[in-house]
């Protein structure tokens, strides 16, 4: 029973994680800073999911990345690409529509 609930919850959350990550990348962020920002906003995401997700989004050309080696420790910064901005806008609209519909039903 609890296993079923867990898997249903994961399924429900899966799509929203992408939206949450995209929303926080209007400004350049590196892996750990992004994880912290999400945590501050009470978005629970496994770190082992977050970092591979960033790679995937980059591969899908929603994000661009750049290594910053000026500080004492090299960091990979991610930022929304133009395409990513557009995708984010549409996903946000979709989310707002869906949550409104669901809220009126629940």
């Amino acid at each position: 029973m609890s296993e079923l609930i867990f898997s249903l919850k994961t399924e429900l959350r899966r799509g929203t994680l992408t939206l949450a990550v995209l929303s926080q990348l209007q400004t350049p962020q590196y892996g750990y800073s992004l994880a912290q920002r999400l945590e501050e906003n009470n978005v629970s995401i496994d770190q082992s999911t977050l970092y591979p997700l960033l790679r995937r989004l980059e591969k899908q050309e929603l994000l661009t990345s750049e290594w910053d080696t000026t500080e004492n420790r090299p960091r990979k910064y991610y930022l929304l690409s133009e395409f990513g901005q557009e995708v984010f806008r549409q996903l946000k609209e979709e989310w707002q529509k869906t949550s409104m519909q669901l809220n009126s039903m629940l």
Binding site: Y30, G31, S48, Y51, P52, R55, R73, R75, K76
Partner: protein
Amino acid sequence: MNLIETYISEVTQRLPEKIRDDIALELRSTIEDMLPNHHTDNDVEKVLMKLGDPVKLASEYNNKPRYLIGPLFYESYINVLIVAAIISVVISSLTLFVNGMITFEGDKSLFTLMAFIGQLCLKMLLTSLNVLFQVFFWVTIVFIVIERAGISNGDLYNKKKAWSPSDLYQLKKVVKKRQIPKAEVFFSLFWTVLWATLLFNASEMFGWYEQTGKGLEGLKLKAPLFNDDVLFSYAPFIVLLILIEVGMAFYKFFIGRWTNLLASLNLIYHFFSVGLLCFMLTDKTLYNVAFTDKFNNTVPNVPTFWLVSTIATVVAVFSIIDIISGFIKANKSNTAIDQWIKNG
């Protein structure tokens, strides 16, 4: 520090070469970000615990499908597998059987033939197993390639016409009574092969047997039932009959239910086969004189006319029953949809 490097290499060794260094670098900087400035081994363990199983992390990075055949293709995979398996087993078995019958050497008394058929069945079973493995292997390989090649199922669907409820009217729900079991199809194919083989070898198998020694070997064919030359002059008609039977079997296999067309075909087939049978039965030149002499000497009271007409009548009655049942099955329309179509 050592623990961190071990963790990173545990992850990266499972990744493609070209992204290894980049991911190692990012992982290292992330782990260091997560650690407090002056950290202990205990802190490192906590951080690594947060990142979780390196195998799982690597598979997330890889993002490769962790299945051979995905849900998009699974249905077509199973369908293709079943159809390919059935067809290849039937064809290979029939080929073996017919080939075995044609190449059969030695004295063709009914009993050595039985032993030969037993051997042949075993061979067919083993070949079928082999064929099944082959089919399974190759169909699976092809589907794995299709899955990996990234052909989207959308392309496949786009080529088909989009589904609409009007398709349902054409489909006409298959009523159970109209359905033709696959076993029946295979049995009829087997039957065709059997009678054709027996008939073409009839001059060496059917006839007057006499006991000339001891046991089965002593049983010798004294007088064959048929005259070979006359029998083979019927060959074109017999071949035509075989073709009709095989054609009907294939129709039954792929359409899977009785239709008016199939019932009509069945009618033609029965008329033709009964006609041919009557014609052959009454053809005096077909029978070997030596056989009829021996037969009349042994059972003088049975007129051959009576025997022939009995056989013909029995066959004709069964044919008529089959013809009628074909039409009845074809016109069974118990479903609401069928009624609806009839009423317009």
